[in-house]
């Protein structure tokens, strides 16, 4: 039973897609938590998101926008209040933990903080082998070989296996976490802020590693991030979230190059740009995002919107598909000019720098 060895050939495994061609698809996902006093906290409010095979989708928003909740709900760590999650042709919304086991093999996750997502008492070999053992990947030597192979894939030295996470830097730890997530050759990988806990100099390496692995292993990616520049670098499509709702969606170049929603425009202008004199015309949003317990009426963004009108305070703009694959929820979409045209350049690979 335990001696069944697997061929490391992810591409050969058949994937079942939804009608719209998605491998992972969430429809009208709604997640609420109970806040003190019996009130409801609307963490995620009717989000729909789809990831096709080999595609990278970015989910962007500031802290508290509910993007991590979306990730954890897709992994079935939170129970959705309503909505549907379909993965590999199977409705996984209400599967029990036992029924989820084969799904967990194909859908994996990378966490934000490699300092807390690795057990400090376990050696790297045991950490990376954990999912393999859980899914009875093979006997000890098969698992050991696989761990060595994975460590090499993510660019760690072979002697890393015997060491503890504390003996590695943040970037190397995230490599360990990635190796663990890739161990079972998943079809899809959800990365929750995979680089935001790392030094800026290390971020590029991890991003490049993820991109390279996707090309090689044929994985669908859902990347959760707050950094639009990063998401633009690695994603095919972007969904922008604000206070639990999707406000804009479209291809990465289009959302960044021709943002329609004032919130997207503000997010873009907040991204530092490495160009002399490029910091002109910054749109500053005033105040914090409103509480998901007491949400504003009408458009959720109206208290902070620079182009707010009377109508926005009472009516809620629907998410409208104004071009194929391009959605926005704003009555005055496109009426706010992006502050500058610094995003027009083509995507280029990030410079490769030596490991920390």
């Amino acid at each position: 039973m335990a001696d069944v060895s697997k061929t490391p050939n992810a591409g050969a495994e058949a994937r079942t897609l939804t009608k719209s061609g998605n491998l992972l698809e969430a429809t009208d996902l709604k997640v609420t938590f109970r806040a003190p006093g019996g009130r409801k906290l609307h963490a995620v409010d009717t989000i729909s998101i789809g990831v096709k095979p080999r595609e990278t989708v970015g989910l962007v928003g500031e802290s508290g926008s509910g993007k991590s909740t979306v990730a954890l709900t897709l992994m079935r760590a939170h129970e959705p209040e309503s909505g549907q999650i379909i993965f590999d042709g199977l409705d996984i919304t209400h599967l029990s933990e036992r029924e989820l086991l084969p799904i967990r093999r194909k859908l994996q996750v990378v966490f934000q903080d490699p300092y807390s997502s690795l057990d400090p008492r376990m050696t790297v070999r045991r950490i990376v082998a954990e999912p393999l053992k859980a899914h009875r990947y093979g006997n000890r030597s098969v698992i050991n070989d696989r761990v060595d192979e994975l460590l090499e894939q993510v660019g760690l030295p072979p002697d890393a296996a015997q060491r503890l996470p504390a003996q590695f830097s943040g970037g190397q730890r995230q490599r360990i976490a990635i190796a663990r997530s890739l161990a079972l050759e998943p079809m899809a990988l959800i990365a929750d802020e995979p680089v935001s806990a790392l030094d800026v100099s290390i971020q590029a390496q991890i991003v490049n590693l993820l991109r390279g692995l996707q090309d090689r292993l044929n994985i669908a990616f859902l990347v959760i991030a707050h950094d639009l520049a990063l998401v633009h670098q690695i994603c095919d499509r972007i969904v922008v979230m604000y206070l639990g709702e999707a406000v804009e969606e479209g291809s990465a170049d289009d959302v960044v190059g021709r943002p329609q929603h004032p919130y997207t425009v503000a997010l873009l202008s907040a991204t530092p740009v490495p160009v002399v004199g490029g910091d002109a015309e910054r749109i500053l949003l005033t105040g914090d995002p409103p509480s998901p317990i007491h949400r504003p009426t009408g458009c959720r963004f109206h208290p902070r919107c620079p182009i707010v009108q009377e109508r926005c305070k009472t009516d809620k703009p629907p998410l409208v598909e104004f071009a194929p694959g391009r959605k926005v929820s704003c009555f005055y979409a496109g009426q706010m000019d992006p502050p500058r045209d610094l995003w027009a350049h083509e995507k280029e690979p990030l410079p490769e720098s030596p490991e920390d």
Binding site: M75, A77, L100, L101, R104, R105, Q108, V109, F111, D113, S116, S117, L118, D119, P120, R121, M122, E130, P131, K133, A134, H135, L164, A166, A177, R180
Partner: protein, 291 residues
């Protein structure tokens, strides 16, 4: 060095290899090992007659006719009596600690694991048991099941566990909220695996430290119960009984008090040193591991 040399020489025993790196722990372990060896030694080699009295040589001071620690009011040798008390003291306290650590760990982990009504029930149960005054419970228990080795062991073990359960509950919750536990769950690792691979190793230092301290507390409580006449049978050489006997002869034969008291103090100190040492080492290790 050459390969031939290293394979040819037998591994030499080095005392330093046994050292733990903490002076407290080393000293505590040495004293405790001596006590354990004495316990085994007296069980194997001490004849039952060694505990017999010899009325003509009653209340003699240390050194009298080969009585190293002197004799008591019935002329019984105090050294043999204190050795004979080892199973009563160390045995009862050790077994009681095992029982209370097991119950406390299991219940604490159950309360930490479940977030639903099971947690509420277990926590209520823990609080209820904590609320009972220990000595009253012990009195009732001894009144019902009587005196003797097992009654005291069970009384101590079954009453003192809530402290452990409380601490393990808090510690366990701390470990369970770690992201690596969530990660393991999302990778499809089973509940039992998470428990044995992540949670138990995470709370092991706490169990060890609490176990050592509670061992000492149990030792004192066992002596206290015997002293009050609620513990070992009257003739049994329990350290508490010996202390109880010594009260009437404090002025004439102070060694009758000093010998069992010294035994209790050395055992308690060794256990406290072990507890402190383990705590110190696990703190150091945690710092090295988390950094």
């Amino acid at each position: 060095m050459t390969v031939a040399h290293s394979t040819g020489s037998p591994r030499r025993f080095k005392l330093s290899r046994l050292s733990t790196g903490s002076l407290q722990l080393n000293v505590g372990l040495v004293i405790f090992t001596i006590l354990l060896l004495a316990l085994i030694g007296q069980a194997l080699f001490m004849p039952a007659s060694a505990l017999d009295g010899d009325l003509p040589s009653r209340l003699k001071g240390p050194g009298y006719q080969g009585h190293v620690f002197g004799t008591d009011q019935l002329g019984r040798d105090l050294l043999f009596r204190v050795l004979g008390g080892l199973p009563w003291s160390l045995g009862i306290a050790g077994l009681a600690t095992l029982i209370l650590a097991s119950i406390g760990t299991v219940l604490g982990l159950i309360a930490a694991w479940y977030t639903n009504f099971i947690r509420t029930i277990v926590l209520l149960f823990i609080s209820t048991v904590i609320a009972f005054p220990f000595l009253v419970l012990a009195l009732v228990a001894v009144a019902i099941i009587g005196r003797g080795f097992w009654p005291i062991t069970l009384t101590l073990g079954l009453i003192a566990w809530p402290v452990v359960a409380r601490v393990i509950y808090a510690e366990g919750r701390g470990v369970l909220t770690r992201e690596y536990v969530l990660a393991a769950r999302l990778f499809g690792v089973s509940k039992w695996s998470i428990l044995f691979v992540h949670v138990l190793p995470g709370i092991r230092p706490t169990i060890l430290v609490m176990g050592a301290f509670l061992f000492a507390v149990m030792l004192i409580l066992e002596s206290a119960l015997s002293f009050l006449g609620l513990g070992a049978p009257l003739n049994a050489p329990s350290w508490g009984n010996m202390l109880s006997d010594s009260r009437q002869y404090l002025v004439n034969a102070p060694w009758m008090m000093l010998v069992p008291a010294g035994a209790i103090v050395s055992a308690v100190i060794s256990l406290n040193l072990i507890g402190d040492g383990v705590a110190e080492i696990s703190r150091k290790r945690a710092r090295a591991v988390e950094a």
